[in-house]
C-alpha cells in the first residue's frame, strides 16, 4: 500500500495540470455543443470558368455557352493566352473551355467535336468538368435520332432542366454524432496530455537515479515495486478515461447511451491504453522532468495537429495525413469520424473501426516491446 499511496500522493501534486487539460476539453465540448453542424447541409457551389469561343455564337454552340453560363460563374479575362494562364495559376479561373471553330457544324454532322480544356485540377475544376460532361453526354444521346438543330436544342434543354430530387432518409441524428466525434477527437489531445505528461512526471520521480537506488537496496522486492507502479499507472489512466467519458455524458447526455456511444467509449479506452504505453516508453527513455515536459508537448500537440484533433481531417493536406498514419491518434480519430458517418451499425460497417482499434493495440504492443528491449539493454549495460 505504501507504494500505491505514494504514487497517488505524487499524482495529486499535479492536479493543476490534470485540471487544465480537463477544462480545455470542457471548454471545447461546450463550444462544440453551441456550434452549427454542417455535415448534412448541401451548399450550392459554382466553379469559375472561362469560355474561349472560336466558333459562331449560334445554334448548338450558343446553347452550350448559355448552359455553362447558367451553371457556372463566367469570368472575364483579357483575350490572350498569357492572361488566361495567369488567371488559372492564381485560381481566378478553375477551368478554361476552348470551343473550336466548326464545333456547331461538326455536332450537326454527327461528328464528335473535340473541346479543349485547361484545368487547375482542384475540386472546383472537377465540378466544371462534370457540368461540361453532363451536357455533352445529353447532347450525344439525342444526335442519332434528331437531325433538326432546333429540335435537338429543345430536347437537350428539356432533359437538362429535369431536376433530381434526393431525399435523405436517416434515423441518425448526424449533428449529434458529428459533435460527439469532434468531442472525442479533441479528447485524444486531453487524454494524451493528461496520461502521458502526468505518468511520465510521476515515473520520473520514482525512476530518479538516487531514489531508484534507494528502492533497489530496500527490502521490498524491486520487481514487485515496479509492478505496483505499473498497476497504479494503469488505474490512473482508467480514471482519466472514466472522467472524460463522464464529461461526455454530461455534455451529450443520452447520445452516449446506445451502441454507437458505447463504441466511442470503447474506442477511447483502447486509445487511452495506448497513451499509457507511450508514457511508459517515454519515462524509460527520459528521466529529466524538464525534458519530459518538452517531449510530451511535442508528442501530444504534434499528434493532435497532425491527426485532426483540432482541425477536421478533410481540411488537412494529404501529405500531413500520410505522415499521421504512423501515429495512434490518427487511427483513433479516423474511427470517431467513421462512427459519425455510418448509417447502420452492423458487423460490416464496424469492420473498419475494429481494424483501426487493432492498429492502435498493435501500436501499444510495439511500444511495450520497445520498452522491454530498452530495459534489457540498460540491465546489460548496468
Amino acid at each position: 500500500m505504501t507504494v500505491f499511496k505514494t504514487f497517488w500522493k505524487v499524482i495529486i501534486k499535479y492536479k493543476g495540470t490534470i485540471l487544465l487539460y480537463t477544462i480545455l476539453l470542457v471548454v471545447f465540448g461546450t463550444l462544440n455543443m453551441a456550434s452549427n453542424d454542417t455535415s448534412t447541409v448541401f451548399v450550392d457551389s459554382k466553379p469559375n470558368i472561362l469560355i474561349v469561343n472560336n466558333d459562331v455564337y449560334e445554334g448548338v454552340t450558343k446553347n452550350l455557352i448559355d448552359y455553362l453560363q447558367n451553371n457556372t460563374n463566367i469570368v472575364e479575362v483579357e483575350d490572350n493566352e498569357e492572361a488566361r494562364d495567369d488567371a488559372l495559376f492564381y485560381r481566378d479561373v478553375n477551368y478554361i473551355i476552348y470551343i473550336n471553330e466548326g464545333y456547331r457544324d461538326d455536332v450537326l454532322n454527327g461528328l464528335n467535336p473535340v473541346i479543349d480544356i485547361k484545368t487547375t485540377g482542384d475540386y472546383q475544376a472537377s465540378l466544371a468538368q462534370m457540368i461540361l460532361e453532363k451536357y455533352i453526354k445529353v447532347q450525344n444521346s439525342y444526335l442519332a435520332d434528331i437531325t433538326d438543330e432546333n429540335e435537338l436544342i429543345a430536347a437537350i434543354n428539356n432533359n437538362l432542366e429535369e431536376e433530381s430530387k434526393i431525399q435523405i432518409n436517416s434515423t441518425v441524428d448526424t449533428a449529434t454524432t458529428s459533435r460527439l466525434a469532434r468531442y472525442f477527437n479533441f479528447a485524444s489531445y486531453s487524454i494524451m496530455a493528461a496520461v502521458i505528461f502526468i505518468i511520465c512526471l510521476v515515473l520520473s520521480s520514482f525512476h530518479e537515479k538516487t531514489v531508484n537506488k534507494r528502492i533497489i537496496i530496500s527490502s521490498m522486492n524491486y520487481r514487485k515495486h515496479n509492478q505496483l507502479i505499473l498497476a497504479s499507472s494503469f488505474l490512473y489512466s482508467v480514471i482519466v478515461w472514466i472522467l472524460y467519458v463522464v464529461l461526455g455524458v454530461i455534455l451529450f447526455g443520452d447520445a452516449l447511451f446506445n451502441l454507437r456511444g458505447f463504441i466511442y467509449i470503447l474506442n477511447t479506452f483502447v486509445f487511452t491504453f495506448c497513451a499509457l504505453t507511450i508514457a511508459i516508453l517515454i519515462s524509460t527513455l527520459v528521466k529529466n522532468k524538464d525534458t519530459v515536459s518538452g517531449i510530451v508537448n511535442v508528442v501530444a500537440l504534434g499528434s493532435a495537429f497532425l491527426c485532426g484533433a483540432f482541425v477536421p481531417t478533410e481540411l488537412l493536406p494529404d501529405t500531413v495525413l500520410n505522415i499521421a498514419h504512423v501515429l495512434p491518434a490518427y487511427w483513433y480519430i479516423n474511427s470517431n469520424e467513421l462512427l459519425a458517418s455510418i448509417e447502420a451499425i452492423n458487423f460490416n460497417t464496424l469492420q473498419p473501426i475494429f481494424i483501426n482499434s487493432l492498429v492502435i493495440i498493435g501500436f501499444a504492443i510495439l511500444f511495450i516491446v520497445i520498452n522491454n528491449i530498452i530495459l534489457k539493454k540498460k540491465q546489460i549495460v548496468g
Binding site: T2, V3, T6, K9, V10, K13, Y14, S205, E208, K209, T210, V211, K213, R214, I215, I216, I217, S218, S219, M220, N221, H225
Partner: protein, 312 residues
C-alpha cells in the same frame, strides 16, 4: 567480536580499469569503520559492491554471515544506506518522504509511524515535517536524506560521504546523529575524504587509494605510520639562512619547510620541542607572530604512504 561484514579478495574492473583491487577486510558489530581516501579511490564502488548494486569479478562478501545477493531481502531489511546525493521525492513533504522509504521496510502502519517520529527527532527536523524538499536548506536536506535511510532502524548503516557540501552547523548535527546511532549499537561504514571526520568518528579506519588498502587500524595506529611525532608551525617575519640551517640540524627534526612566512618543522620525537624552539628563536632574536604545535594527522599518514595529499 562478532563479524557483521566479511570481505575477501574483492576485485572489480571497469574494462581494464581496476576500481577495486583484491580488497579484504572485516567489520565488527557496533563499530564505526571509516573508509578514507581521495575521490576515485574506490570507496563508493566498494559500498556499491557490498550492497549488490554492482557486480564484481572476484571475491566474496558476507553480511551477517550470509552471502549478499541482489535478492537477499532478509539481509536488506537490516541495512540502511545514506548516499552522497540526496535521494528524496520533490513532490512529498519531509514526513511523507521518510514514511515512504520507511514503508519499503516496515509494513506495520503503527510501528512505521513510531519509527518515523523517532527518526525525525533524532535528526532534529521536527519543525520541518510539512516542508517540501525545495523549501529546505542544504543542511536540512542532508538530514532528511539521512532520516530516509535510517528510519527503519537498521543494524548496519552505510554512510557515503553524507557531509559533502554541508555547512558546519549541519555537519556537527550530522556527526552527533551518527554517534547516537553507534550508541544505539548500530554498525556503521562511513566513507569520507575528510580526515578530521574520520578521526573524530571512526573506531577503525581503512585508507584506500586506487582501489587498494594502503593501511588500516585505529587513528593512533595509523598516525604511527606517519613516522613523525610533532609538527610545529611558526609565522615569522624574517628568517636568516643560518637560523634555518641551525633548525634543520637539530637531531629530532625530520624536515623543515619555509613557505612565504610560514615555517613548518616536523619532529621524529616529541618531547619539549615547542619549548626548545621558542627559546632558540628568542635567543637568536627571531620575531614571530604565531607559533603552534600539532600532532600528525591522517593526511600526514596519507602523504607518507602515497607521496600525495588526501584532498589532491
Amino acid at each position: 567480536m562478532k563479524k557483521v561484514i566479511e570481505v575477501k579478495n574483492l576485485s572489480k574492473y571497469y574494462k581494464e580499469l581496476k576500481a577495486i583491487d583484491d580488497l579484504s577486510f572485516d567489520v565488527y558489530k557496533g563499530e564505526i569503520l571509516g573508509l578514507l581516501g581521495p575521490n576515485g579511490s574506490g570507496k563508493s564502488t566498494t559500498i556499491n559492491c557490498l550492497l549488490s548494486l554492482l557486480n564484481f569479478q572476484n571475491g566474496s562478501i558476507k553480511i551477517f554471515g550470509k552471502e549478499m545477493k541482489p535478492d537477499s531481502y532478509d539481509l536488506k531489511r537490516k541495512i540502511g544506506v545514506i548516499f552522497q546525493e540526496v535521494a528524496v521525492f520533490e513532490e512529498l513533504t519531509v514526513y511523507e518522504n521518510i514514511d515512504y522509504f520507511c514503508g519499503l521496510y516496515i509494513k506495520d502502519k503503527n510501528m512505521r509511524k513510531k519509527y518515523v517520529e523517532e527518526v525525525i527527532n533524532l535528526v532534529e527536523i521536527k519543525e520541518f515535517k510539512k516542508f517540501y524538499p525545495k523549501q529546505l536548506s542544504g543542511g536540512l536536506l542532508r538530514r532528511l536524506n539521512i532520516a530516509c535511510g535510517i528510519a527503519h532502524k537498521p543494524e548496519l548503516i552505510f554512510l557515503d560521504e553524507p557531509t559533502v557540501a554541508v555547512d558546519p552547523q549541519s555537519r556537527n548535527n550530522i556527526l552527533s546523529g551518527i554517534k547516537k546511532l553507534r550508541d544505539n549499537s548500530a554498525t556503521i561504514i562511513y566513507t569520507t575524504h575528510y580526515m578530521e571526520e574520520a578521526e573524530i568518528l571512526c573506531d577503525r579506519i581503512i585508507i584506500l587509494d586506487k582501489g587498494k588498502i594502503l593501511a588500516q587500524g585505529t587513528s593512533d595506529e595509523l598516525k604511527k605510520l606517519a613516522n613523525i611525532e610533532e609538527k610545529i608551525t611558526v609565522e615569522v617575519k624574517d628568517l636568516s639562512d643560518k637560523v634555518l640551517e641551525d633548525i634543520k640540524n637539530i637531531d629530532e627534526v625530520d624536515s623543515v619547510v619555509l613557505s612565504q612566512n610560514l615555517l613548518v618543522i616536523t619532529y621524529r620525537k616529541g618531547k619539549n620541542n615547542l619549548e626548545n624552539l621558542i627559546d632558540y628563536l628568542k635567543k637568536n632574536k627571531v620575531t614571530y607572530s604565531k607559533i603552534f604545535s600539532e600532532r600528525p594527522t591522517l593526511n600526514d599518514v596519507f602523504l607518507e604512504l602515497t607521496g600525495k595529499e588526501l584532498r589532491d
